[in-house]
Symmetry: C2
Subunit: 136 residues, 2 copies
DNA sequence: CCTTGACCTTCCCATCATTGGAACCTTTAT
DNA sequence: ATAAAGGTTCCAATGATGGGAAGGTCAAGG
């Protein structure tokens, strides 16, 4: 299997496969006589693991940790749970931040007539003037 | 007011002030004889506007649009509302994605004993094997 | 046999927003 | 006079990915 087929089989672009190899996330595969990378079932499995972890929002570094734990036969599941749990916390913090932004923006947009008058509470808020958002 | 004072007054780092100037987000200020940037009330006001917009998650490009609308006396508040509303939508999409990740991860962590057995449903899921998550 | 097109290789550049640092100059305070 | 603190420019790095150029390789069809 060459890199294009491995890419199709895993959903990881050929570019990214080479990149993951270059940063040491995955091991360099064998090469053909004409220097093409050759992938087998094991490599595809690893790539799918990486793809899934990235889809779940793990950073490449976290993915490397999880991959190490996955391939370590003596690993403790507690360690994995810890990585996952701290990732959940980070995600929830991010979500709360985004929700705060949305709340503020919705409030501003609600106060904004959306008509053609030049008064605009959104711009006023951004500018640090709060006359129109008081008492709401 | 030099760049350090402007930075303290606005919470925008001196580095970023120079950067915003270099990309044309803000105008180049006057200079002293010794080539120091000089900032006045207007410039500080602009920087605060930028800071607030960035804090609310607007990209630098969106911030530039908002800044333009703010400084345009003939602007329509409808335009501003449109920028804000589409930004809200983008944020909500992002939130939904993150919530999906959290849900999956919580499910996996819940199924994970967190003890020292090498079996780990989280890793099994990442690897694409779903025997332990079935029927839950 | 030769061409064409699809695929592979490496290498460099761009993105987005921000930070860090080097090398050097200016101002202020001791 | 000197040292500290601040300014200036320029270059590089981050994280993850995409784009593309220049060139080698393979398969199918004429």
């Amino acid at each position: 299997m060459n890199i294009g087929e491995a890419s199709n089989a895993t959903g990881v672009s050929a570019k990214m496969i080479r990149y993951y190899e270059s940063i040491g996330l995955i091991r360099a595969p064998l090469r053909t006589g004409s220097n093409y990378r050759v992938y087998g079932e094991d490599e595809v499995h690893v790539l799918r693991f990486v793809k899934r972890a990235r889809t779940l929002g793990f950073s490449v570094e976290e993915t490397a940790t999880l991959l190490g734990l996955w391939q370590d036969k003596t690993r403790a599941s507690a360690e994995v749970k810890e990585v996952a749990t701290s990732h959940i916390e980070a995600l929830e913090t991010k979500i709360a931040e985004l929700q705060g932004m949305v709340k503020t923006l919705k409030h501003l947009a609600h106060c904004c007539g959306g008509d053609n008058r030049p008064d605009c509470p959104i711009l006023d808020d951004l500018a640090g003037e709060h006359p129109t958002t008081k008492g709401h």
